[in-house]
């Protein structure tokens, strides 16, 4: 989806420069929520302020809203159908596979190395086995990151 947005926003409409787009992308990825929404909100804000954000946000949400709403209305009627049930019995394990397969590649780009591999493993076990809410994981990760920075800075002053 990112190359599509980039082509529209940078190459066709000239709303952002390429450098600006790449910087914005880094921030959009660090903020909570889908990257495509964050990108749309940033571009909207850049061009037209808060009002621009609202329009771009609505623009990016509406297509999937309509598609999924239609599916929801139809699917709830056919869900009990034995054919649909058979099809989904095959699809469900594939869904999990599609989540698991990219993990290795993603780990590399997220900077997971031997020295910090304990972080994803601990998080996965806490959330999966101990049913700790991801809310606490996110809050703790942010606080830990900030205190680690303070710790390094204090050490450097001495």
């Amino acid at each position: 989806m990112i190359p599509l947005i980039r082509n529209e926003v940078v190459n066709k409409k000239l709303w952002l420069g390429d450098d600006e787009f790449m910087d914005m992308l880094a921030l959009a990825q660090s903020a909570p929520g889908p990257i495509s929404l964050n990108t749309a909100l940033f571009v909207g804000n850049k061009r037209l302020g808060f009002k621009g954000s609202l329009f771009c946000g609505a623009g990016i949400i509406l297509p999937s809203f309509i598609v999924i709403l239609l599916i929801a209305v139809l699917f709830t009627q056919f869900k009990e159908n034995p054919i649909i049930e058979s099809i989904f019995k095959g699809i469900r394990p594939a869904v999990v596979a599609l989540i698991a397969a990219p993990l290795l590649g993603l780990s590399k780009s997220a900077g997971v190395r031997l020295k910090n591999i304990w972080i994803p493993i601990t998080v996965a076990l806490l959330v999966w086995l101990l049913k700790i809410s991801p809310v606490y994981i996110i809050m703790f990760a942010i606080l830990f990151g900030i205190s680690y920075y303070l710790f390094i800075k204090l050490k450097m002053k001495r």
Partner: protein
């Protein structure tokens, strides 16, 4: 009145999902599953997996898709009308977007100050590996008896993992697994 309570509960839950939805996409799944399946029981684990399947085959982020879908089904399954379900759908989709709207408005204002900010860099150095852990948790949480009925489910899983690493198109893989489902689990009328 009961409907109003459901609407408020849906709104607050998806607002929370929006606030803590770092990493987007699959990283948001454990939080969504925990809230809508475990805590509120609005949908079953199988339904939740089906929403993920639908998201993988349609454009648009999973967070919106699940908000739209759950907003509709949770309301209609309580016995309310289609129209009231559509309102529920709109409420959830709006709620999940509000945090992004606020945060991106602030980020746009402080764009150049935030760029390369050491506090943020340090937080991200922990957050990014943690997000990988959340995605792994998403897969583990869905590896349950509802989605993996027998050994045949594990064969489908293994084949799709390998095919996906070999860069086969995910939509094609979903379609093929649907066909496999029809053949391996013949429908009984």
């Amino acid at each position: 009145m009961e409907l109003m309570e459901l609407y408020i509960s849906l709104f607050l839950t998806f607002l929370k999902i929006g606030v803590f939805g770092f990493g987007g996409g699959y990283a948001m799944l454990p939080l969504i599953q925990r809230e809508v399946v475990d805590i509120h029981g609005w949908i079953t684990v199988s339904d939740f997996t089906d929403i993920v399947a639908i998201s993988q085959t349609t454009p648009g982020p999973i967070a919106f898709n699940s908000a739209t879908y759950i907003g509709y089904t949770s309301v209609t399954e309580m016995g309310f009308s289609t129209g009231q379900g559509i309102i529920g759908s709109a409420i959830c989709t709006t709620a999940v977007s509000i945090p992004s709207l606020i945060i991106m408005t602030i980020i746009s204002a402080f764009f150049f100050k935030l760029k390369g900010n050491p506090w943020m860099q340090s937080s991200l150095s922990i957050l990014k590996p943690a997000i990988i852990g959340l995605i792994a948790a998403a897969a583990l949480m869905l590896m349950n008896d509802y989605n993996f009925i027998d050994y045949k489910s594990w064969i489908i899983f293994g084949v799709v993992v390998v095919a996906s690493i070999k860069k086969m198109d995910p939509i094609l893989l979903i379609v093929l697994s649907g066909v496999a489902g029809l053949l391996l689990y013949p429908p009984s009328f």
